[in-house]
Symmetry: C2
Subunit: 433 residues, 2 copies
């Protein structure tokens, strides 16, 4: 009767279990690094985006006027919100501030594979350090999170660069070159033909010879060649910084996943330093899995004290595509340790067994629907119960219950006082002697 809104998804238990396992892995890894969870609002003032990006951005937003006349929007990303939160408590918060959170965001855009209008990200950020170790820690967290999911360097790579390398090289050209336009052209270049790419560069103010030269230099990815070509303090500093980040990443265990890739520019204007994107090494997931980088100016632009920042935000839709491609996506099914089956008026004893097993930390269901033996057994099978404990009137009259191993189908009677008795996790095998 009612349908779901386009671009919004329902997650039923099997798929949700796989998603939850993935989110848990990313978050547990973040906790191990001392990142602290925060909670953030779904709605913010739309001005947080329109002030910076212009009113046109509202076409990509779920924005509206609320009952109190506020121009609000469903947040399309986390970064402005955490910037606002840092500014609000900048005196009290001890630096570096290391935060993470997983939640949905919303953008009104074309729905396609790996891109819905409601999408989940785990945002991980460090505020208050301009040192290369902070960039490297973000890379290390991302690498650890992905390897903890079962991915390896055969499955993913981080393509890394520094925003000032492109900017610094471009500013050695004519002053009329629109550097932001040229960087945006580089960011799109892997989706363009060479001719289209060069046309965009020419549109940004390069001559056609310069476009070819610039393309070659960037595609070469040789940091020392870039340093020599530009021969400016800015490019020197950017190359130095990128090299220092890679050295720290080596200490932190993430260097092996990093490939220098000067095309990597990230679309967002607020990046100021090292930028990186995670790609499927095999190229089967064609878009970047996620990206991140340094954004040292954002907090100040939000009215805060100058506060360097670096972060990354894996999106769970593209991450799922990568994990599925790599064969490490968790099984999309529910699991159950015990089903306690009732035959006749055995609820009291079944409830006792159920409660004792739950107190030992197990997932346990019992009948709450007055079903027949066969229906209960079918249901136990549908929830992948490992062991079925059959509490039948006749068995109980003999102070026994029947234990059924759902994998083998084997079953036997055991004394009711031994179930669960002293056993932490009693199964058929414990009694089969």
């Amino acid at each position: 009767m009612y349908d779901r809104i386009k671009g919004f998804r329902d997650f039923y238990p099997g798929e949700m279990a796989a998603r939850r396992a993935t989110i848990d892995t990313l978050e547990d890894t973040a906790r191990g690094y001392g990142f602290r969870e925060i909670g953030t609002p779904a709605l913010e003032r739309a001005e947080m985006w329109t002030d910076k990006s212009g009113d046109d951005i509202v076409e990509e937003l779920y924005s509206f006027e609320d009952q109190g006349g506020r121009h609000v929007t469903l947040t399309p990303e986390l970064t402005p919100t955490v910037a606002r939160m840092v500014v609000a408590k900048q005196q009290e918060l001890s630096k570096p501030i290391k935060w993470f959170s997983t939640r949905p965001f919303w953008r009104y855009e074309q729905v396609q594979q790996g891109r819905q209008r409601e999408f989940y990200q785990t945002n991980v950020d460090i505020f208050g350090s301009s040192e290369p170790e902070a960039d490297a820690e973000i890379l290390a967290w991302a690498a650890d999170a992905l390897t903890n999911l079962g991915l390896t360097d055969e499955h993913f790579e981080f393509r890394i660069s520094h925003r000032d390398i492109l900017g610094g090289v471009l500013e050695t050209y004519d002053a009329d070159v629109d550097i932001d336009d040229a960087i945006r052209a580089v960011d799109k270049s892997d989706k363009l033909s060479t001719a289209e790419y060069h046309d965009l560069l020419i549109g940004a103010g390069l001559t056609s010879e310069q476009a070819v030269e610039f393309d070659d230099l960037v595609a070469g990815g040789d940091l020392e060649a870039v340093r020599a070509f530009a021969d400016t303090d800015r490019v020197d500093a950017a190359v130095d910084n990128l090299q220092h980040v890679l050295e720290a990443a080596d200490d932190f265990g993430a260097r092996e996943y990093c490939t220098i890739s000067l095309e990597t520019a990230r679309g967002l204007d607020y990046y100021t330093g090292v930028v990186f994107e995670c790609f499927d090494s095999a190229g089967e997931v064609s878009r970047s899995i996620f990206g991140g980088g340094r954004y040292d100016d954002l907090i100040e632009s939000f009215g805060g004290q100058p506060t360097p920042a670096v972060g990354v935000a894996p999106g769970h839709a593209t991450l799922a595509l990568l994990c599925q491609r790599a064969g490490v996506w968790p099984d999309e099914e529910v699991t159950t340790d015990y089903y306690v089956l009732q035959i006749g008026d055995t609820r009291t004893e079944a409830a006792r067994i159920t409660r004792e097993l739950r107190e030992r930390g197990h997932v346990v269901e019992t009948d709450v629907a007055g079903r027949s033996f066969g229906s209960q057994l079918n249901y136990a099978d549908s929830i992948n119960a490992e062991t079925v404990v059959i509490a039948g009137e006749q068995d109980l009259a003999n102070d026994e219950v029947t234990i059924k191993d759902m994998n083998s189908g084997d079953q036997m009677q055991v004394p009711v006082e031994e179930f669960p008795g002293e056993y932490e996790r009693p199964t058929f095998a414990d009694f089969d002697s």
Copy 2:
């Protein structure tokens, strides 16, 4: 520069840690019962609410027209969404369907203590059983969840009734009595004076004598007196059902938390059977902490096959108030197992120790901001680090690190190869012999 929207909250790490611990307890308890997590959209078609409740409800909603011309709303509750999801897959889903989820909802209403415009609930529902065991399992989950938080019967009680008791008693009066209005009056009665309450009942069609009589009967809470007064099949069945639910709740361990309270009516029109509300036993949190009940008609009204349903949805704001009042709210602070402090050029060795400790599952931070010894120690203190491992150039030259117990302030040097070495969780005490 930008402010938070009224009624929306930021959760910084300390408070978030306490919230997360609470949410984990509720969810882990639900998992133990075999409830399965689902994921649901933040936006739905506004018609899901206006069709049933009329257009006036939009004043309480964050509803708007999206870029595609859809009339959508930020969901104010989960139940219509799960009903939609059940209808969409009613053939494939094996019954009973047992689902849970924790997420924010949104209502544009007056902000007050324990009530924000963005609020979090853990929804727990069973679909496909009309048996009293299903109602009892919902009560048992709620009781287990609260006791797992550290609450006891001194802190909370479930006031329980059956929707048909009030309805059935009211229909023994004149046919002109507006039963829904009268039930709404009962639902509000604890916030009204007796005169105001009786006026509402009279407004619903009772005479003033009937209002007094009805008030006495309901306040008495004697199920057999109610059965005798009404003397109808409907009230008989309702009293029987409530008694059966309480018997099942006894088997499931939840009976001791239940008080029969015929005033308990729940405001929502879709309840059809047993209804209950959780209250602070000491009365310090004056509003109900949360409520729940049976809603057997909703799925069918959404175009599905008739499917009985029962559920509950603790709200985390009022639950926090109860836990704080009871003194069981988790400490609002972050915890850290180790801080690995660097003095001089010791990053490589500090990174090795950090990584090995993280691999053992600990929360470990090291310097990523190039800070001095004193700043690092202050930071370690601010994150409540239990142990500081000092990797100093001179110590390392002697193949040693210094272990500092942050609680006592004691410290000693230990061989670097023993840290962490074979220890799962090495502390000062392991070396202090």
